[in-house]
């Protein structure tokens, strides 16, 4: 069961501004039936001010709540004001959403953005959000399962400070089905955070760091189960290790251990590391 805030509960139980505006000035859309959630946002303008907004949502409790609160957030505001609304603002207004449900708030933002885009395109005033570190092709679909573009991923990364593929999946769904796009997402993340990652370690520094993590964090764990691990060599990003003791003979255990060792090293030293048994 999800831990939904009282706000979320209130909004899915009593959604505000449900329905269609027949003479809407702009309609924003996001998501799709096949992907499991979709949203239509209708906006009625009075000059530059959003006079009325209504929504129709196909989706879970937090998707309905995100859409509902979004309409409340934008009614009475100017277009310039709502342009600044991010998925984070939507989630915050709801008193937070479970991590795995952040994509619902993103859907809200996307529908709003879609609406604004349509409006400003007509007025010929649309400027892309500035996204540092990105390639030029924002419309390139990265995740075909959920039809998520590079631009959408970058925007979620930027607004929410996402660092891992898993976080990107929570916020945009990309990577959540077949997983084929995970490599591409990783590349986008690496590219985006490139300037932030500490300077590349020298080979010696790397070996020392790996060795320290193995001694202090991995080995004690394995010893608890009567096994141990020995660092044999580091070649590029391949860490060669030998499993000893209880875990050495058995294939199944050694797979589990390899995965464990690899995830710790990826986490603590460098996400590009791979572990190999010798």
């Amino acid at each position: 069961m999800w831990e939904y805030s009282d706000k979320v509960l209130d909004h899915y139980r009593n959604p505000r501004n449900v329905g269609k505006i027949d003479d809407a000035d702009i309609v924003g859309e996001a998501g799709s039936l096949a992907c499991g959630d979709s949203l239509k946002l209708y906006i009625k303008l009075d000059g530059n001010i959003i006079k009325d907004a209504k929504f129709q949502t196909f989706g879970c409790g937090s998707a309905v709540a995100s859409s509902s609160i979004l309409t409340e957030m934008i009614i009475g505001k100017t277009l310039e004001e709502v342009k600044k609304i991010t998925n984070k603002d939507i989630a915050d207004a709801l008193g937070g959403l479970p991590q795995e449900k952040m994509h619902c708030s993103v859907m809200g933002q996307e529908a709003l953005e879609d609406a604004l885009k349509k409006y400003y395109k007509e007025e010929d005033e649309w400027e892309e959000l500035e996204l540092t570190g990105s390639s030029d092709n924002h419309d390139k679909v990265i995740c075909t399962c959920f039809n998520v573009t590079e631009g959408q991923i970058l925007e979620a990364v930027k607004i929410n400070g996402l660092k891992t593929v898993e976080e990107v999946t929570n916020y945009t769904k990309a990577g959540g089905a077949c997983g084929r796009c995970k490599g591409a997402i990783k590349n986008i993340l690496d590219e985006y955070w490139k300037n932030e990652t500490p300077v590349e370690l020298t080979p010696t520094q790397k070996i020392l760091k790996i060795s320290k993590v193995i001694d202090q964090q991995i080995s004690p764990q394995l010893q608890k189960d009567g096994g141990d691990i020995e660092l044999i060599d580091v070649e590029g990003n391949t860490v060669k290790v030998k499993l000893t003791g209880m875990c050495s003979g058995c294939k199944n255990a050694s797979m589990t251990i390899k995965n464990f060792v690899e995830s710790v090293l990826k986490d603590k030293v460098d996400s590009r590391l791979e572990v190999e048994q010798v």
């Binding site: 959604p15 959630d37 929504f55």
Partner: protein, 395 residues
């Protein structure tokens, strides 16, 4: 509260709890000990083993091993036989197994096993011809669930066992019977099933106890090494109260099988018919008669399952959904996808699963309340035109 989620877990029968209590209180001895004080728990385990033997139609108590759950039973069977049989590297299962088998197969793939996953049709029935075509002389194991947890569809495991053994007599055949036990009669006697696993909490024993039937000719390596318990195949001091519990639950389940297959089925059918009649966007995801008597999986088109569950929960009704949003995964249930359920209904599929404690009043309540809930939810849907067409079509 109305609990229609008995495929997830069941309430512990009072009689089961009563039978267990002495072993949580005064009769706490380790059954392996030498003194008289240990005789009662030792005898209780023996008695429980006898009941599970009868429950599964095994020949001998020695064929029954107690485990901690259904997942352990499956792991013990599958890993146990494969590590005794290392030269064969091909294994088969179905696309609709429980994760305790599917994820184990995925892990085995990484260990170098070649796998085949057999398809089901749109009703959830296994493609037996495909299965036949995949069995080889070097197939180490075939694993097929007795009944599916999501749609309730029963597989003809006796016939499948014959097929497996005809094509490849040495291939081991394991049956995950977790969702069949307590709902339909299980009888391994006169079948060629090699191993079969069950889990207590699906038939009114507590969570945390299961059992595995192993034909005497099948060799296994233990998952848990240690003491001599369970004839050396599953070390660890026996969980006496829970073993007593699963034994008692099996006894009660045998007594109420008739009720399950008639009365629970009648209630399930009533619920199903009532919902299909009252709710215009409902469709039955599997309608075959060959289903366990308690399970119904219904797809509600153009709405999302979690939202239905939340609204049901608000009126005190517990059910579950194959929707992506409930599980935290982003994809809808692998079972419904394997069945090719149309995506209009995929995300809005709800499983209702009854038990012998379910009542007619509860069924009537859900049939009565569901249309209101669905009106509320469909009113929010962006697919008003589609819903309107559906309404007209279904009258």
């Amino acid at each position: 509260m109305i609990y229609f989620d008995n495929n997830a877990t069941t309430r512990v029968d009072e009689k089961v709890l009563e039978a267990m209590l002495p072993y949580l209180k005064e009769d706490y001895a380790n059954p392996s000990s030498m003194y008289d004080f240990a005789k009662k728990p030792a005898a209780a385990i023996k008695e429980a083993r006898g009941k599970i033997k009868d429950f599964l139609g095994a020949n001998n108590e020695k064929e029954i091993f107690f485990t901690s759950c259904g997942s352990e039973s499956a792991n013990m069977a599958i890993k146990g036989t494969l590590s005794c049989n290392k030269e064969k590297k091909h294994i088969i299962t179905t696309k609709v197994e429980h994760p305790c088998v599917l994820n184990l197969y995925k892990a085995l793939e990484k260990d170098g096993y070649e796998t085949d996953y057999i398809s089901v049709n749109s009703e959830g029935e296994l493609d037996i011809e495909e299965l036949k075509s995949k069995i080889r002389k070097d197939t180490a194991l075939v694993s097929v669930m007795y009944a599916n947890n999501e749609n309730g569809v029963i597989n003809p495991v006796k016939e499948i066992a014959d097929i497996v053994k005809t094509i490849s007599p040495e291939t081991i055949f394991f049956v995950d019977a977790v969702q069949a036990s307590g709902k339909i009669p299980i009888n391994v006697k006169d079948t060629q099933i090699d191993m079969l696993g069950i889990s207590g909490h699906k038939f009114h024993a507590p969570k945390g106890v299961g059992a595995l039937y192993v034909r005497p000719s099948v060799r296994l390596t233990p998952l848990i090494n240690g003491g001599h318990q369970e004839r050396g195949l599953r070390a660890g001091t026996e969980n006496v109260p829970y073993i007593v519990g699963i034994g008692k639950a099996a006894e009660l389940a045998m007594d109420s099988l008739d009720y399950e297959m008639k009365e629970v089925k009648r209630l399930r059918d009533k619920l199903e018919e009532g919902i299909l009649k009252n709710v215009f966007n409902a469709r039955l995801n599997s309608s075959v008669s060959n289903r366990v008597p308690n399970t119904s999986n219904i797809g509600f088109e153009y709405v999302e399952g979690e939202l239905i569950l939340l609204h049901l929960s608000d009126i005190g009704v517990c059910a579950s959904s194959g929707s992506a949003c409930t599980s935290g995964s982003l994809e809808p249930s692998h079972v419904l996808r394997a069945m090719g359920i149309p995506f209009t209904a995929l995300h809005g599929s709800i499983r209702f699963s009854l038990s012998r404690f379910s009542t007619e009043k509860e069924v009537d309540y859900v049939i009565e309340k569901l249309p209101d809930i669905m009106d509320k939810i469909t009113a929010i849907s962006p697919y008003q035109e589609e819903l309107m067409k559906l309404k007209q079509r279904r009258g």
